[in-house]
């Protein structure tokens, strides 16, 4: 066992800010949707708009970070061990079996995480962003001087946005629970706060991130 620096500062900042924003967008969004009453409708609309813009900015930085560090490769889905990982959650975890995949600095995500996170990144979040922006900038059919998109009906946009929102909330709840399935109940949480986590096996080499211009993480 070795203590390793797994989550760098930006990554942790991104993770926690994103978490906060999604919770906030979820609560304000579902108030707009009519499902709950919390901020007051008018506030919910304003907060949702502001949080949405902040989220977009965060996403822009996160994309930049993922590309420049090559970390995006962590999310490439794989079939390998997918079944084993699923079986671990269904059976192994109750028998105190070891995690089927080893968490290392170069491969921090297990196959299930890879597939789910990749799904969020290429499907759910983009759908939320696109429908959200359309929601923000569409106008009803009109002919006066306001420059905007003339979209006949909001319904399709709103429905897609709502589906995505439900998926994100479900993901969020599941995510909270899965945090507790690390080496110990709190080890995952501690790692995302401090950046350091006890990992099995040999310590990783010092240089974890490729230099600019250097081909990224050739496999």
């Amino acid at each position: 066992m070795k203590k390793e620096y797994v989550y760098r500062a930006f990554e942790r900042f991104w993770h926690w800010t994103q978490a906060a924003l999604i919770i906030f967008l979820g609560v304000s969004g579902f108030e707009i949707h009519g499902s709950l009453h919390f901020f007051g409708y008018e506030n919910a609309v304003h907060y949702h708009n502001i949080a949405a813009i902040s989220f977009l900015i965060l996403i822009a930085f996160a994309i930049f970070w993922h590309l420049t560090t090559g970390e995006w490769r962590q999310y490439i889905p794989t079939w390998k061990n997918l079944r084993a990982q699923a079986e671990y959650y269904i059976f192994g975890i109750f028998r105190n079996a070891p995690h089927p995949t080893k968490k290392t600095v170069l491969s921090k995500l297990n196959p299930l995480q890879k597939i789910v996170y990749a799904g969020l990144k290429v499907l759910v979040i983009p759908v939320m962003v696109i429908t959200g922006l359309l929601y923000m900038f569409y106008r009803y059919p009109q002919k006066y001087e306001v420059l905007s998109l003339n979209i006949k009906n909001l319904e399709a946009i709103a429905i897609l946005h709502t589906v995505g929102a439900f998926l994100l909330v479900a993901f969020f709840i599941m995510h909270l629970y899965l945090i507790t399935t690390g080496q110990t109940v709190t080890s995952n949480l501690k790692a995302m706060i401090t950046g350091y986590e006890e990992l099995e096996g040999e310590p990783h080499e010092k240089k974890k991130y490729p230099e600019v211009n250097e081909p990224v993480l050739s496999k």
Partner: protein, 538 residues
């Protein structure tokens, strides 16, 4: 570490930038403070009419007053004679019916139905003296009643049932010496009493506006801007701005809030976005008939009940007429939430002689518009429902003669005989009457435009953006956030949330149970080995 610091700094800065961008104010509208300044300058008359010798000469006939007026203001009566106030009709293009001259003169409604046969009484509110439906009357400029609108003494009054002649109590010289711009008192004397009583017709125009508080109307408030009708209903050559869709059809000559307030009057851009599809009145008139009730339903079929051969009236506990033998039964409403509909500024009308289907509700006027119509916005309206007389054989609405000045002239209010009233009324409008009548349900739409409330009382977001019983619950064909949702998506969403929670509880519970067992087993086995050891030691 440095890099992170800069990244954070950049992030913070860009969020700040975006937030300030989101909060930019629109510069388009005139700020309220400017408008207040502008309208607090009350104009003073430039001359004192009480000093003019022409107005000191004793007037014995009202036409002499008009002659005196035009001896200085020459040409003005001709302007009036081109106005709707005088003609009670104007040319309108009506979809499907073409260009027609319509107005009070020939349009039917579901209040007192129409003027034909009752001119003597109805034309008390005509801007002329001794109304007669003849060319000679309409071309004689001395018949124009200048005082009805320009009296500033507050003493001018027209007589009952005298076709627009002034009341005998009026001192014409005194009134003529105290003339000026029309006041709310002048306009209200007719416009607040349409339909035969205070607030009967409009619901948002009534005598409370002679001296309203800010809560009743922010513009006309005596304790506020104290604006007069003509501040918004401006006039060029006696052609007033504004009209009502009970008697007009085209999208023209309207008084618009935007003229003063601009099309983006809010500092909040989300609210400004609403102005594309929601009329100002929709949010800023939360209720109409704020002070006195307005008629919502008028059932003519109940009219004619007599007590000892005499007509009678019944009032409710507030002193409002709920039954009159001459008019039938009424339902009134106070503090009424408007109905809402899509309206593009054009309307259609039931015109005399149009065929009806008596088994269906007849729309006396139709306001056009839909969600898809780029000109349409959501407007508040008062819907007035009625049950009124129609020809059971020819299937059109009947214009009955109501007013009666001598027994046997057919006027319903004297004879209480629908057949005779229909006969006489229809003769007036040159349509045959079959001799068979019935009563048909009718509906009329009155856009609500006055009684703007202080902003604290504005309709709030969730009065429309709400799942159930919102103000716009009946407007369909578009997606309204907070009201609308897709049932399957809702089911799917709630389903996966429920499954997730149940899964977590089962899985987590199992983990806890398994762990407890295991730790017990471990401690048991430990205890066994210890006790075995200690036994062995003995």
């Amino acid at each position: 570490m440095k890099k992170i610091f800069f990244a954070l700094l950049l992030l913070g800065a860009s969020i700040g930038l975006v937030l300030t961008a989101l909060h930019k104010n629109s510069t388009e509208s005139t700020p309220l403070s400017e408008l207040r300044k502008q309208y607090s300058q009350k104009t003073k008359p430039s001359v004192d009419h009480s000093l003019f010798p022409q107005l000191k000469k004793k007037f014995t006939k009202p036409q002499q007053v008009t002659a005196a007026c035009i001896s200085c203001h020459n040409g003005r009566t001709e302007e009036v004679m081109h106005s709707t106030h005088w003609n009670w009709e104007r040319l309108e293009y009506i979809k499907g019916k073409g260009i027609r001259a319509i107005g009070k003169r020939n349009i039917l409604n579901n209040f007192c139905i129409g003027i034909a046969g009752s001119e003597k009484s109805c034309t008390r509110c005509h801007v002329g003296y001794g109304y007669a439906n003849t060319a000679a009357y309409f071309t004689d400029s001395l018949n124009v009643d200048c005082l009805a609108c320009h009296d500033n003494s507050g003493t001018y009054m027209k007589a009952n049932e005298k076709a627009g002649m002034p009341d005998t109590s009026v001192n014409l010289n005194f009134v003529a010496q105290h003339v000026g711009k029309p006041t709310r008192t002048d306009c209200g004397a007719c416009h607040f009493f349409g339909g035969g009583g205070n607030n009967v017709k409009h619901g948002d125009l009534e005598m409370a506006l002679f001296d309203p508080s800010r809560n009743v109307d922010v513009h006309m408030a005596s304790d506020g801007a104290d604006m007069q009708c003509v501040d918004c209903h401006t006039a060029q050559k006696h052609q007033m701005l504004g009209k009502m869709y009970s008697v007009s059809s085209m999208n023209r000559n309207r008084v618009q809030c935007e003229t003063c307030h601009g099309s983006m009057p809010h500092t909040d851009n989300v609210l400004n976005d609403h102005t594309l599809k929601v009329a100002c009145q929709t949010c800023h008139i939360p209720v109409y008939a704020k002070v006195n009730p307005t008629k919502l339903f008028w059932d003519w079929s109940q009219a004619g009940r007599l007590k000892d051969g005499k007509p009678f009236e019944e009032k409710d506990s507030n002193g409002t007429d709920v039954y009159m033998s001459i008019k039938g039964a009424f339902v009134w409403g106070k503090n009424v939430k408007p109905d809402y509909l899509w309206f593009n500024g054009t309307a259609s009308h039931y015109l005399v002689g149009d065929a009806i289907d008596p088994s269906k509700m007849v729309k006396i006027n139709t306001l056009y518009g839909s969600y898809d119509d780029p000109d349409a916005k959501i407007y508040p309206v008062k819907i007035h429902r009625g049950k009124q007389i129609y020809d059971a054989q020819y299937h059109y609405l009947i214009q009955p003669k109501l007013f009666s000045d001598k027994p046997g002239d057919g006027g319903y209010w004297g004879d209480f005989n629908w057949n005779r009233a229909a006969e006489e009324g229809m003769k007036k409008i040159n349509l045959p009457y079959s001799g068979k009548y019935g009563f048909v349900e009718t509906e009329m739409y009155w856009p609500v435009n006055h009684m703007i409330s202080p902003k604290e009382q504005t309709v709030s977001c969730t009065e429309c953006h709400t799942r159930e019983n919102g103000r716009l619950a009946n407007l369909n064909g578009f997606y309204l956030p907070g009201r609308d949702y897709n049932a399957s998506v809702e089911l799917f969403g709630k389903g996966i949330l429920l499954l997730t929670l149940v899964g977590i509880i089962l899985h987590g519970g199992a983990r806890i149970v398994v762990r407890r067992k295991r730790s017990k087993m471990i401690s048991n086995s430990k205890a066994e080995t210890i006790s075995a050891k200690s036994k062995g030691a003995k």
